[in-house]
């Protein structure tokens, strides 16, 4: 994910402004083009944006609602700070995991990657996806690390479930299946980490600029 207008340093200014003419190499836009670019015109047509234009009454109603939200700022500061704290805490768990896992080769890396997601998901109170739980349990068992999980920021319930599942899988000889899936597991972990990390960073920037976002919303209203 990338930072957009709300997350930018200057509110209301996207990281990359639209150029004046068609992009190099793009098909020439037809006369009457809305955006100056055929692909973008098609996108807006697909999204039926033209049909979404609001009546004056609709704009007034929406503006009033957004203004009311923008005005209620101060009382929400503490809650937003709490969310920031939770995200930062999750990041600390992640770096702890990473340091630990560096010492244990690829299995550790997979665990570390999944652990990063688990830390965020657990902090956020979300349920751990079944696929991740299995990967976590099997990976931990293969590395002989199940007993170490508890020291690494994972909740007791998750840890118990992981241990249980890992033991059961070991008994049933499923660990060889896990090892056969090593490459897929590693790719999955890497993809998860890159996406999850990017989104978390985006969220942090957005939250950090919450005032800017509200100001943008308010300025749209004031422009009316």
């Amino acid at each position: 994910m990338s930072v957009g207008a709300v997350g930018s340093v200057s509110p209301g200014l996207p990281a990359e402004a639209a150029p004046a003419g068609p992009a190099p190499g793009s098909p020439a836009a037809e006369a009457g083009s809305r955006t100056g670019d055929v692909a973008a015109d098609h996108a807006l047509e697909l999204l039926m944006v033209a049909e979404a234009a609001l009546t004056d009454d609709g704009v007034r109603t929406a503006s009033t609602a957004v203004r009311q939200a923008a005005e209620r700022r101060i009382e929400q500061r503490a809650k937003i700070r709490e969310i920031l704290r939770r995200i930062q805490e999750a990041q600390q768990h992640r770096s702890w995991w990473q340091k630990f896992c560096d010492a244990f080769g690829w299995v550790g890396k997979v665990l570390g990657a999944i652990g990063g997601v688990v830390a965020v998901v657990a902090t956020a109170g979300a349920a751990l996806p079944a696929g991740l739980a299995i990967g976590l349990a099997a990976g931990a068992s293969a590395a002989g690390l199940t007993s170490a999980l508890g020291r690494l920021g994972i909740g007791a319930a998750d840890r118990d479930a992981a241990n249980l599942l890992a033991d059961r899988m070991q008994e049933e000889g499923q660990l060889s299946d896990w090892q056969a899936c090593e490459r897929d597991g590693r790719a999955m972990a890497e993809a998860l980490v890159s996406i999850e990390s990017a989104m978390r960073q985006q969220a942090l920037r957005w939250i950090g600029n919450e005032d800017a976002a509200r100001q943008l919303a308010a300025s749209v209203v004031l422009d009316r």
Partner: protein, 151 residues
């Protein structure tokens, strides 16, 4: 085109963001969030891409599991010629639900980014999910054919 792995990652991340409850913490009611989205759409309809991007991205943050908002974010970024970022937004929408419209938007982005192979895969994905509605079908084909390289 997104792999299954990446889709899982996106859904996991969206789920974590949703669980943070940012909208509630920031004090936005559902009606106010809907109003924010409407103003974003209105910005798009008026051709004010920058404002539309800002409002819609904020709306996506407040309701990260709403695929339709990510579609609109993609549309606003495409209008602003931010193709790679538009593709990222479409991919989030796709991970949340596969539709012909999202596949078509992704095909348009990939074509603009010069990734012909990915564009072709997205085109196929769109046609595999072609809409029943005649008018919508025509819109999809117009968009896909404009980007297609003649063989």
């Amino acid at each position: 085109m997104m792999g299954k792995t990446e889709e899982t990652g996106v859904r996991t991340a969206i789920s974590a963001l949703t669980q943070l409850g940012l909208a509630e913490a920031a004090g936005w009611t559902p009606a106010e969030r809907a109003a924010l989205l409407r103003l974003g759409r209105d910005g798009l309809a008026r051709g004010d891409w920058m404002t539309a991007c800002g409002l819609l991205e904020y709306a996506a943050l407040l309701d990260p599991d709403r695929a339709e908002t990510w579609e609109l974010v993609a549309g606003a970024r495409m209008a602003a010629r931010r193709w790679a970022e538009a593709l990222a937004a479409v991919e989030v929408a796709w991970a949340l639900g596969r539709t012909w419209r999202r596949a078509t938007l992704a095909a348009l982005c990939c074509a603009r980014l010069g990734d012909a192979a990915a564009a072709e895969r997205w085109r196929k994905a769109a046609r595999d999910r072609a809409p029943d509605d005649e008018e919508e079908y025509r819109r999809m084909e117009r968009a896909l054919e404009d980007q297609e390289v003649p063989s």
